[in-house]
C-alpha cells in the first residue's frame, strides 16, 4: 500500500512540475506556476520520506539526519534568496545550480561504495551522474566568479585543445570503467573520474567570455537536470527521471533561444571566446572624437523633446540607478514627454534580467518595449538615452562584418534624432569591442556614474 501511495505521489509530483513550468512560461500565470512546481517538489520529498522502501522492504531510517539536513538546507537557501540584491541574481542562480550538481555528484559516489553492483547499466548511469554533476558543480562556481567579477577571462588555443583532450579522456575513462571497474584497483577509477570532471568543469567555463555567462549558466542548468535524471535511473525513481530530463531538455532549448538572441550558435559560444584581442575591428579610430554634453544641456534636450527612449543596460543595474531612472521618467512625463524603455533581449546579465530590475523599480509594464517594436519607433524618437548599455546598441553588429558581434540584433539607437550616452568612461563594453555609436555626429556623451547623472538630471528638470 505504501508503495502505491509513493508511486501516486511521484506521478502527481511529476505532473505538477510540468504544469508548473508550463505556467511559468506565461506572464499572467507565472507566479502560480512557480508555486505549483514547488508543491510538486514538497509532495515528492514528503512521500519519499514516509513511503519509500528499499528492495528488502525497509522504510526510510535516520530520520533525524534527514530532517536536520532539510532544515539546514531550507534555512540557507531561504536566506540566500531573500538577501540577494536583484542585480546579483544571475550569480545566485548559478550558485544554486552548482549545489544541485554537487548533490548529484555526492550521491553517485556514496552509491558507488554502498551498492557494489557491477552491472554495466548501473555503472554507466552512476558514472554519468557523477561526471555531469561534477562538471556542473565547478562550472557553475566559475560562472559565478565571472559574473561577480572575481574570475578574469583567460583564453588561449592551448586551453581549448586541453579541454577537448580532457573531455575525450573522461568519455574514454567512463567506457573503460564500466567494463573494468577495478582497473585502477578498488575505487581508484572513481576518484580519477571525479578529479578530471571537476577540473574540466573549471577549464570549460574559463575561456568563455563574461558576456556569454547567461548562456553557460543555462547550459549548466540543463546539465544538472541531466545529472538528476541519471541519478533517478540509479534508483528507478520516476519523479527524478521526469523532472531531471524535463529540465535538461527545457534548459537546452532555453540555451539555444539565448544563443539565437545573440545570433550565435551554441558551439560558437563554447569554443570561440568572445572579443579577444585578436579582433581589432575598425583600427582607424585614432582621429575620431567624441562630443560631451553637460547636465543642463542634456536636461533641456530631454525636457523639450516629445518622445524620449531610454535604453538601459547592465551599467544602470550596477549603479543601482533603476529607481532614479524611474523618477527621471516621471519627471519627463509630467512635462508631457512620452517616454518608453527599449529592452534588448539580452540586456543585463541574463535574458529578461533588465525587465526584472525595472519591475523592481516600479516601472509600469507597458513602458517596457521589446527590441523590434522599439526599433520601429526609434526613427521618430527625439532623444535616445543609453544608460550603461554598450554592445546592444553597437551599430557594428549591422554594418561591420569583421566585428565579433556582427549579426547580433541590436537596438537601433543610431536612427534616433539625438543620442545621449551615459557612461563612466570610454572603456569598451562587456564584449570588449569599440562602439562606433559614440563617435556618431548625433551622439553626445554624458560621463559619470549613471545614478549620479540621472539624479542631477531630475533636479535640473524640476527647476526648469
Amino acid at each position: 500500500m505504501s508503495n502505491f501511495i509513493l508511486e501516486i505521489s511521484y506521478l502527481i509530483g511529476a505532473i505538477l512540475f510540468i504544469v508548473g513550468l508550463k505556467k511559468l512560461s506565461h506572464p499572467d500565470s507565472a507566479r502560480q506556476g512557480n508555486s505549483i512546481a514547488a508543491a510538486g517538489m514538497i509532495l515528492a520529498i514528503i512521500a519519499t520520506i514516509f513511503f519509500h522502501k528499499d528492495a528488502s522492504g525497509h522504510g526510510i531510517g535516520n530520520l533525524i539526519w534527514i530532517f536536520a539536513a532539510l532544515a539546514v538546507g531550507t534555512g540557507i537557501g531561504y536566506l540566500m534568496a531573500k538577501r540577494v540584491q536583484m542585480t546579483a541574481m544571475p550569480e545566485l542562480v548559478s550558485v544554486f545550480n552548482g549545489l544541485g550538481g554537487a548533490s548529484a555528484m555526492t550521491i553517485a559516489s556514496v552509491e558507488y561504495f554502498t551498492n557494489g553492483s557491477t552491472a554495466y547499466g548501473f555503472l554507466s548511469v552512476l558514472f554519468l551522474s557523477l561526471v555531469i554533476g561534477a562538471i556542473s558543480f565547478t562550472g557553475s562556481i566559475v560562472a559565478y566568479g565571472k559574473l561577480a567579477g572575481k574570475v578574469k577571462d583567460i583564453s588561449s588555443n592551448a586551453l581549448t585543445i586541453l579541454n577537448w583532450i580532457l573531455l575525450a579522456a573522461i568519455i574514454i575513462l567512463i567506457i573503460v570503467a564500466v567494463f573494468n571497474p577495478t582497473i585502477l584497483g578498488g575505487s581508484g577509477i572513481l576518484w580519477l573520474l571525479l578529479l578530471l570532471s571537476l577540473v574540466y568543469g573549471v577549464l570549460f567555463v574559463f575561456p568563455i567570455g563574461g558576456a556569454d555567462m547567461p548562456v553557460v549558466i543555462s547550459l549548466l542548468n540543463s546539465l544538472t537536470g541531466v545529472a538528476a535524471a541519471f541519478a533517478g535511473f540509479l534508483y528507478h525513481n520516476q519523479v527524478m527521471m521526469v523532472g531531471g530530463v524535463f529540465v535538461g531538455s527545457a534548459g537546452l532549448i532555453l540555451t539555444i533561444l539565448m544563443c539565437k538572441a545573440m545570433n550565435r550558435s551554441l558551439l560558437n559560444v563554447i569554443i570561440g571566446s568572445f572579443g579577444g584581442g585578436a579582433v581589432a575591428g575598425g583600427g582607424e579610430k585614432g582621429e575620431q572624437v567624441v562630443k560631451e554634453i553637460g547636465i543642463t544641456d542634456a536636461a533641456i534636450l530631454c525636457g523639450y523633446a516629445s518622445q524620449v527612449c531610454i535604453v538601459p543596460g547592465y551599467g544602470l543595474a550596477v549603479a543601482q540607478a533603476q529607481h532614479i531612472c524611474n523618477d527621471f521618467e516621471k519627471q519627463l512625463e509630467s512635462r508631457g514627454v512620452e517616454v518608453f524603455y527599449a529592452i534588448h533581449p539580452v540586456a543585463g546579465r541574463m535574458p529578461g534580467h533588465m525587465n526584472v530590475l525595472l519591475a523592481e523599480a516600479d516601472v509600469p509594464y507597458p513602458k517596457l518595449v521589446e527590441m523590434d517594436d522599439a526599433n520601429d519607433k526609434l526613427p521618430n524618437t527625439d532623444v535616445v538615452i543609453v544608460v550603461g548599455a554598450n554592445d546592444v546598441v553597437n551599430p557594428a553588429a549591422e554594418d561591420e562584418p569583421s566585428s565579433p558581434i556582427y549579426g547580433m540584433p541590436i537596438i537601433q539607437a543610431h536612427n534616433a534624432k539625438n543620442i545621449i550616452v551615459m557612461k563612466r568612461s570610454m572603456s569598451k563594453g562587456y564584449a570588449g569591442i569599440q562602439n562606433q555609436l559614440f563617435f556618431d555626429p548625433k551622439t553626445r556623451m554624458l560621463f559619470g556614474d549613471a545614478k549620479d547623472s540621472l539624479g542631477k538630471l531630475v533636479s535640473e528638470l524640476k527647476s526648469m
Binding site: 512560461s25 519509500h52 534527514i66 538546507g73 549545489l99 556514496v110 544538472t224 545529472a227 529540465v247 526584472v356
Partner: protein, 102 residues
C-alpha cells in the same frame, strides 16, 4: 551486446519516459517571451534540485553506523535543499515584482 539488449529491455518503459519528457520540455519552453527567460531558468533550476530525492534515499537506507555514507548523504540533502528552496524562493521574488504594478 547481450548486456545492452537486456538492459534496454528491462528499462524500456523508462527509456520511453525519458524520450517523451525531452519532447515535452522542448514543447513547453519553445514559445516563451524573452522577459520570462530569467524566471523560467531559475524555476527550472529549482526543479533540477529534484536530485534531493536521491539524497534522501541515500541517507534513509544507510546503515546507522555507516557515518561515512550518512555524512556525505547529509551533505547531499543540504545541498539539494538549498537548490530547491533557494531556487523557488528567488523565482518567486522575481515574479512578485512583475505582479505588483498590474
Amino acid at each position: 551486446m547481450e548486456e545492452v539488449a537486456s538492459y534496454f529491455l528491462s528499462n524500456r518503459i523508462f527509456i520511453y519516459m525519458v524520450i517523451f519528457a525531452i519532447f515535452l520540455g522542448i514543447e513547453v519552453i519553445s514559445n516563451v517571451p524573452a522577459i520570462l527567460h530569467t524566471p523560467l531558468m531559475s524555476g527550472a533550476n529549482a526543479v533540477s534540485g529534484v536530485v534531493i530525492i536521491g539524497a534522501i534515499i541515500v541517507v534513509g537506507h544507510a546503515a546507522p553506523d555507516n557515518y561515512w555514507a550518512l555524512g556525505l548523504g547529509f551533505l547531499a540533502v543540504v545541498l539539494g535543499m538549498i537548490n530547491v528552496v533557494g531556487g523557488f524562493a528567488v523565482t518567486n521574488r522575481m515574479l512578485e515584482m512583475f505582479k505588483k504594478k498590474k
